[in-house]
Symmetry: C2
Subunit: 514 residues, 2 copies
């Protein structure tokens, strides 16, 4: 009955300030606006487009990719085991489903699993890693999670909160986490959430987004006194930057982590999305670490993250992911595993999707032919799209885009005319945010401004999933392009058409006209 | 290349101390030991039991409960939409699945959903709440999560970390969260994880675990100067204590929350598990809040949590849950929703399970009859088991158990002989931990000691899910019971048999013999 009862207990001033600090551009204000426009369109609002094309996120199925029959048949049988008797379901599907059901309490995916994941699936993951790297993997070092996202957040959580230890040589400082710029904003959001100090190292755009060890050193030095550096995040293939790291670069990174006592956090969720496997092959950090021998092979703590949301499955909605710990202190792993137990377990069907990812049909099994056909079609589609996007973007005046060697995004640099930069500033917006908002409002295309990922001062970019590139290019073709800023600032213009392989490809021209 | 390179970067001394502080008894050391024994049994180790019976957790399907056909058919169709043409799937199942698929990007549950959940499912939840309470519910106030667990952790996260704000009238103190003792250890684990100050109020065992408002007042006073009290957790029906709160008690709680400016966190996940609906009916906090009128109805911030893991579905593995916010500042809700976006989305199939929970078949639909039959069988089974467990436990010397009015657990008080207490102390264990460990080692039954939930000083309890009670009692029947502490301390003895309804019921006697 005291003062201020008309105001809430929880207000912006009283809630956790770290929540307020979180930013996640991939689903940020531009995307919120896109959802509003979608709702308005549904309610009959007239615009010069009928639907919003969301290139903001690597959402494969939402952009037309088809689920793989093998995986989905397993999921259906897990949900409804009576399908066991269905003749349309091949034997290898039934065998996979039976094996998982036998590992579930009461033979039901409705029961809780072990907090670390179903044991036989952890073993499948370890087998996959062994086949991939040619070196041993132990299922005890693997845990499953609700997507790679949850696994990453958990590992971050394990490390942060040095700021609470006010005794000892570390003093009262925060844990420092090195993050590439541009980065996938899960990392900056998690650092904000956990109040970790973000040590930003810049990738070299002019050198195909290379990771330069001297820049790591500069960034670390610059953080001196601000934090206790604890971890180094590397995203390979890059998101949003699409580069695949060379082996020698990875060796440099490992030496740097070792010399500076940093845990290496390897985001390797795009390991199946490799578009130039000969020129730019992908290797796991675990393999490179192993090949370097002592003291690195046993001296660097490495956590590697993988997901069934990307690659050829693209099953984002199932929330399946895993993490492999290498060289972790078992006592620390046990603490992590204990923390996991209070989350009960990852979604069991999502775990099963991980199993389908790492234990595909073999050549002698009935699902093999269809599986390979569907898998290869997805990957080939992505490869063609990645190539076309790069070439198309580079054909546009004012746009440059590094080759897409891996992952699923283009991150072109765009030149914005001074008047556009000015107009943005007048509205209190970042220039590329302004640009993306205009693109959404006028064309119904949702891309994410580079400022949400980080970029060198004075440069502007956007991230655009390659998945939807044809929809996006087609949209540009099908309409005329006046905008409110038409004659002063920015407009989109169709420029030409080129016809590769089996589809009509379309070239869009981004022109500045000031 | 500096000192200590042979030790790890992450050690028990360097990781987040809050992780080290987490305890989660429901999957704690006793359960870890149970898993070890299970593994050893699989490898052929001989014991006087062939499998461990896990009564540690409310894992319905793992303990024999069958999934409901209606729900599982929907899940199967979502996973494999080709089942659309299957004549064995009734029209209402197909209609539910089609509606959800139409709300998914690309018509696939493999696409990401909105971070707050699929809109049509949020609307289904709001409709369910309206039918339940007879008062309006807005889907904008509902968000879906990966089980109620994730929703609860998110709301906690929103509130904590006052300790970082060293300015202002609150000074440098931690957020305080009031938690019942005994409590479901998710709450203590989350408080530890987030470094919140736990204000413990004791439920009155002698008064059927009643929540006494004077005890709330005492606990709050005792916390004075240690924290800034922010939230009050109430679990109704109680876990592990199984009581259902009376309306007048709920009114007291609401007044207390209002007077002391506390956010009310209502864990209502067992709202379908009500065994004495006439004598002890369940009412939602939202409804009671509404009925109290101003200033309470609009002045108390309430978050209510619900799950598809309990009730009649028991679909724990699907990780479906939701939270409804009442009277929250929209700006605060928006901050929460933003934080949710960095988690991408809850598992889509889990969301669909929530839809199946809140939108069951209606009387005119083809699945109705089977649905009702299956649902009622589950609930009637639980009711009978709850009743039998209570009566059986109370028939045992040295054991008292309050009636199970709701939820799925018995939390009997056990008298332990002084010699057992002494033996426990010699081993550095809590007496009831010692007891539960013996019970596991000797009988292969895994129950959780009361010390994991909290209990009044000098009292001992264990929590045992009623789901498996027949297995557990049968185990006791089928074996002889010498233990290492046989003649000095504790043993289990069969005492009698009683036969209700359609199954053999068995009575186990817990005897102390000192």
């Amino acid at each position: 009955m005291i003062n201020g009862l008309d105001s809430k207990v929880l207000r912006l001033e009283t809630i956790n300030p770290h929540v307020v600090n979180i930013e996640y551009a991939v689903r940020g204000p531009i995307v919120q606006r896109a959802l509003q426009i979608e709702e308005a369109l549904k309610k009959g609002e007239k615009r010069n487009f009928k639907e919003v094309i969301k290139c903001n996120i690597g959402d494969c199925h939402a952009t037309g990719q088809k689920p793989l029959t093998f995986c989905r048949q397993i999921m259906a049988m897990l949900a409804f085991p009576e399908l066991e008797n269905d003749e349309r379901f091949p034997d290898d599907v039934k065998q996979r489903a039976r094996r998982i059901l036998q590992s579930c309490g009461g033979g039901s995916v409705g029961s809780y699993s072990n907090s670390l994941g179903i044991q036989c699936i952890r073993e499948d993951v370890a087998s996959y890693i062994e086949r991939r790297d040619g070196i041993p993997s132990n299922s005890a070092d693997v845990f499953l999670a609700s997507g790679a996202t949850e696994a990453i957040k958990l590992i971050f959580f394990l490390q942060y909160i040095l700021h609470l230890i006010s005794t000892g040589e570390d003093g009262n400082r925060r844990a420092g986490v090195m993050v590439p710029i541009p980065q996938y904003p899960l990392y900056s959001a998690t650092n904000a959430e956990m109040n970790a100090y973000q040590i930003e190292y810049y990738l070299e755009e002019a050198n195909n987004w290379a990771l330069n060890i001297r820049e790591l050193e500069r960034a670390l030095r610059a953080s001196d006194g601000c934090c206790v550096p604890r971890a180094l995040v590397v995203i390979n293939p890059g998101n949003p930057t699409a580069q695949v790291l060379s082996r020698s670069c990875m060796e440099d990174v490992i030496r740097f982590a070792y010399d500076n006592r940093l845990v290496l956090l390897a985001d390797e969720v795009y390991q199946f999305n490799i578009y130039q496997p000969r020129a730019c092959p992908w290797t796991s950090f675990k393999r490179v670490l192993h090949d370097m021998g002592p003291p690195y092979a046993t001296g660097v703590e490495l956590a590697s993250f993988m997901s069934c949301s990307k690659g050829f499955l693209g099953e984002c909605g199932f929330r399946g992911g895993y993490c492999e710990l290498v060289n972790f202190d078992p006592a620390v792993a046990n603490q992590l595993y204990k923390a996991l137990s209070a989350r009960l377990c990852p979604p069991v069907i999502g775990q099963a999707m991980v199993a389908a990812l790492v234990d595909p049909p073999t050549e002698s099994e009935p699902s093999y032919a269809l599986f390979i056909q569907e898998r290869d079609r997805v990957l080939e589609d992505l490869r063609i799209k990645a190539d076309l996007v790069t070439r198309t973007l580079n054909s546009l005046p004012g746009v440059t885009c590094n080759p897409i060697q891996g992952a699923m995004y283009a991150f072109p640099r765009i030149e914005l005319p001074p008047k556009a930069v000015l107009a943005a500033k007048e509205q209190g917006q970042q220039p590329d945010f302004f640009y993306c908002l205009q693109f959404l409002e006028e064309k119904g295309v949702c891309v994410v401004p580079g400022s949400g990922f980080g970029q060198a001062e004075g440069t502007f970019h956007f991230r655009c999933g390659v998945l939807v590139v044809f929809n996006f290019l087609y949209r540009s073709l099908a309409r005329s392009f006046p905008t409110r800023y038409n004659d002063q600032l920015v407009w989109w213009k169709l420029e030409g058409v080129l016809p590769p392989s089996y589809f009509r490809a379309i070239c869009v021209c981004f022109a500045t006209c000031n």
